[in-house]
Amino acid sequence: MTEWIDVGLITDIPVQGSRVIAGPAGDIAVFRTANGSVFALRDRCPHKGGPLSEGMVHGNAVTCPLHNWVISLETGQAQGADQGCAGKIPVRIEGERILLAASALHRYAA
């Protein structure tokens, strides 16, 4: 059975923004989209390791601040012609609180 870890309130994240969770195997970026969905990805662009948490959030995607790769928040996959995947961390929302799947936090060791 999946263990879920409470990491904070949805309102801790700006709309169309992101916050970082310092995880045991590296940083996790948690995103909040314009229509209120929450997603979590490993905070490393598959291209050159750019911090996705610093990118611009638009629709259900984020543009990496280093070289403008566009990464799907739903799948972690790079969009368009680019190839690569930032690891996706399952998210559960309970009321106003954000929970991340504990097992996934360890999965992506650097």
Binding site: M56, H58, G59
Partner: protein
């Protein structure tokens, strides 16, 4: 030896007559043109979009200086003609010049009718006739306040809509019970009134102006029922009167206008007249299409064609108010012998009325859906018998002639002689022939060759469909590169529509301009954020979520996710206290690299994100602020030591650099702006490869701009010279403001200058003192909110969420 043609007047009719003449007999005449306005030939019917901000003066130019030069036309701008000596065949100018003619063309136009009421000549009372009027109105709109427009006809409503868009509180005072009563029946007038009211314009129909109030300047309007409407600006738009005074004084036959025959000759066979100054068959015309017809006939006659005739014209009217579709043609007085067909769709705001007489269309009003305007107008013009299609006539072309058609098929079904462009009288057959005959593939080419859609532009869609029909897949309509995949609009169009629609937030822009994505993308959002910040400096709140990370956290992200921090050093000057503080910060926060930059300051590289607020607090304490080394904005002003120390220095270049930097820091621009000030032409500050560079000389300051030394290497161009530092700073600020207003996001100054032309920039910020002053003032206004040190704000706690993790789960591993 060419004959001498003198043209008096340089409006649209004169411009068109010259076009026609040159295309017929390019070398037959040596031409001199006198224009009372100090400008070249522009498209007067497009003044409304200029007022509303949807177009600029440059957009509506018809003939520029180069056109006159290349056609060897002697243009005398700003010179009115005072007298015609028909005996000697000479005209005498207001400047005293005497010019001989073999043929004379009068195109003196018309003057706005000014109500003969007290106060009509107070400052602040304007008409809506030429660019000076528009500029006077725009100057008023910058101060805000109230405007009263007298006259609810075509011009008055376009003026009212434009002023409302520019932020004024507008009331239209109209004599009769409904708007545009000459073109519209009361029902359509009512719909129009409602649409204007939805645009924030107050409409007062059945109201008669008794006096204009005010002492030194207009303060209001009094109606004949005693009510007083306060006003900071009054626009008179109640009609025009032909300018026939010159002709009358010369002894030509004049009634309301200058009388002409079908050959456009006046009572003197060597003198022709065209345009709004003319009366033909008892009618004076004020719409562009018949004026162009007259121009064509006059040119044909001048070119030796003895058969060309002007036989009067039916005119159609379109209102140029964005979002209000209105078309009217012909006449629709009630009469026993007339029948009408009306379609009303209240929910869609559509109203159509066709007036028939003996099975022929004599009048048509379309409101809300004007797509069939050309088709109805063609039926009207041809006097076609419509008895066979009367049942479906009101539903327009696609029903009347068969099953509903797609838009291109509808155009295909039009007969060749149907008029597509009402302004220029161009029919379908002519456009198709020209496209195939000349091998045209772009809209611009079709406009250049046929003039179709080149005036008011309302038929652009039809012309494009004709091109699609004629060229098939060879036609690629998109000529403007869209901002990004979220929209079809280019940067310039989006920006104009932001201003014109007074759109003041990113969601409003995306909603009103039909963005195809819900939240934009990383290309359009920063651009829109910049445009909104630039256009509404006092109202718009910056959207941090539409900023690149560097501008959001006010530092430069490095490849390992750490940041670099560059404090401002004004003009490259520093001191022991600042240097000590920098050294302390570098040690305290383990900053691995300290480097001197090319812009004469010091870069601290490898700062951890969470340390940024503390680093800034320490630097702030030593008096240093952000150097904006990350910004699409003013970066550095590099200087040399100038006359303080250097034996060659001619001026205090260091001091000037500091003053420029202190005045301009914090301003956001389309892309980064780097400046330099050198104290002499040896140019140690390398000012001639900057976006803006000043070279000090003994007599003052040379201002250079549009250089670059990055991806491209480009020397600057000289903009102008000034004698004083104050003037120098004013020119630089005005230049920067023009760039802020015209530059596309991420377009460096040198690319902007290549695109719009150095001469146009110089004309705006050097030659036109008024424009320079207003640009300078707008820059000053925007600086009020811009000059806040972002580091101090964030060291004080702003956006703290940017710099701390939301949760720390690193201990999880140990716990397991």
């Amino acid at each position: 030896m060419p004959r001498k043609l003198v043209v008096v007047g340089n409006g649209m009719a004169a411009g068109r007559a010259l076009d026609e003449l040159l295309s017929r007999v390019p070398d037959a005449y040596s031409v001199t043109v006198f224009g009372a306005e100090p400008r070249v030939n522009y498209n007067r019917i497009m003044l409304s979009p200029v007022l509303s901000g949807e177009k600029t003066y440059e957009d509506i130019l018809i003939h520029d200086d180069a056109w006159y030069a290349s056609n060897r036309i002697d243009l005398r701008c700003g010179v009115a003609i005072n007298h015609i000596d028909r005996e000697a065949k000479q005209v005498v100018g207001a400047d005293g010049s005497v010019t001989d003619y073999d043929a004379l063309l009068l195109a003196t136009g018309s003057s706005p009718f000014i109500l003969p009421v007290p106060g009509a000549n107070l400052p602040g009372v304007v008409s809506f006739r030429d660019l000076d009027d528009v500029e006077a109105m725009l100057a008023s709109t910058r101060k805000g306040g109230r405007a009263v427009v007298i006259g609810g006809g075509l011009l008055g409503l376009e003026a009212a809509a434009g002023l409302a868009v520019q932020g004024m509180d507008v009331t239209v005072v109209h004599l009769t019970p409904t708007l545009m009563e000459r073109q519209l029946d009361p029902s359509a007038g009512y719909l129009l009134q409602r649409a204007m009211e939805q645009r924030g314009v107050t409409i007062r129909c059945g109201a008669n102006t008794q006096a204009i109030l005010g002492d030194a300047r207009v303060s209001g309007v009094r109606l004949d029922d005693g009510e007083e409407l306060p006003a900071d600006l009054v626009v008179m738009a109640i009609g025009i009167r032909p300018n026939a005074g010159l002709a009358r004084a010369a002894g030509l036959q004049v009634n309301r206008g200058v009388l002409v025959g079908d050959d456009m000759r006046t009572s003197d066979p060597d003198i022709f007249a065209v345009g709004e100054c003319v009366e033909h068959g008892g009618v004076c015309y004020g719409l562009v299409a018949p004026l162009y017809d007259m121009a064509k006939v006059a040119a044909a006659r001048l070119g030796g064609d003895a058969t060309a005739r002007f036989s009067g014209a039916l005119t159609a009217t379109r209102l140029k108010v964005t979002g209000v579709d209105l078309f009217s043609a012909g006449d629709f007085d009630d009469g026993g012998d007339r029948q009408e067909v009306v379609l009303r769709d209240v929910a869609r705001g559509v109203y159509k009325r066709v007036v028939l007489k003996e099975d022929r269309v004599v009048g048509v009003v379309l409101y809300g859906d004007t797509a069939d305007g050309s088709w109805f107008f063609d039926l009207l013009r041809r006097g076609a018998d419509v008895s066979q299609m009367r049942d479906t006539l009101i539903h327009g072309q696609s029903f009347a002639v068969g099953a509903p058609m797609d838009p291109v098929a509808a155009v295909a079904a039009l007969p060749d002689d149907v008029e597509i462009c009402g302004c220029n009288g161009v029919c379908k057959g002519k456009i198709v022939q020209t496209i195939t005959g000349e091998g045209l593939t772009s809209l611009a080419d079709v406009r250049a060759h046929t003039k179709a859609s080149a005036s008011c532009g309302a038929c652009t869609g039809l012309v494009e469909k004709l091109m699609a029909l004629t060229l098939g897949t060879a036609f690629a309509p998109a000529t403007v590169e869209p901002m990004c995949g979220c929209t079809d609009l280019g940067h310039d169009e989006a920006r104009r529509l932001i201003r014109a629609g007074a759109l003041k937030s990113i969601p409003a822009v995306m909603q009103e301009l039909g963005w195809k994505t819900s939240g934009g993308c990383a290309r359009c959002r920063p651009a829109l954020n910049y445009y909104l910040l630039c256009d509404w400096p006092e109202e718009y709140e910056d959207d941090a979520r539409s900023r690149y990370v560097n501008e959001r956290v006010h530092a430069n992200i490095q490849k390992d996710g750490t940041y670099s921090v560059v404090p401002r050093m004004w003009g490259g000057l520093t001191n022991p206290r600042e240097l000590r503080a920098i050294a302390d910060v570098a040690e305290r926060y383990d900053i691995p690299t300290v480097k001197v930059t090319g812009g004469q300051r010091i870069d601290l590289l490898g700062v951890r994100k969470e340390d940024l607020p503390a680093v800034w607090a320490d630097l702030n304490r030593a008096g240093m602020v952000s150097g904006h080394a990350y910004a699409k904005g003013l970066r550095t002003v590099k200087t040399c030591v100038g006359s303080d120390w250097c034996r060659f220095g001619t001026q205090d270049s260091t001091g000037l650099g500091v003053r420029i930097e202190k005045f301009m820091w914090g301003s956001w621009t389309p892309a980064k702006v780097k400046m330099g000030v050198s104290g002499c032409p040896r140019n140690c500050a390398e000012a001639t490869c900057k976006d803006v560079g000043v070279i000090c000389v003994d007599s003052g300051f040379e201002i250079h701009f549009a250089g670059a030394a990055g991806l491209h290497i480009k020397g600057t161009q000289l903009l102008t010279r000034t004698a004083t530092e104050v003037e120098c700073i004013e020119v630089i600020a005005a230049l920067t403001q023009l760039y802020r207003e015209q530059g596309r996001y991420l377009e460096r100054m040198y690319k902007w200058a290549d695109r719009v032309g150095v001469d146009a920039i110089r004309a705006a910020v050097v030659d036109d003192a008024g424009r320079r002053t207003s640009l300078f003032e707008r820059f000053v206004v925007s600086q009020r909110k811009a000059q806040v040190d972002p580091w101090a704000e964030r060291a004080g706690g702003r956006d703290a969420h940017e710099f701390t993790p939301m949760a720390n789960l690193k201990l999880l591993e140990a716990a397991e």
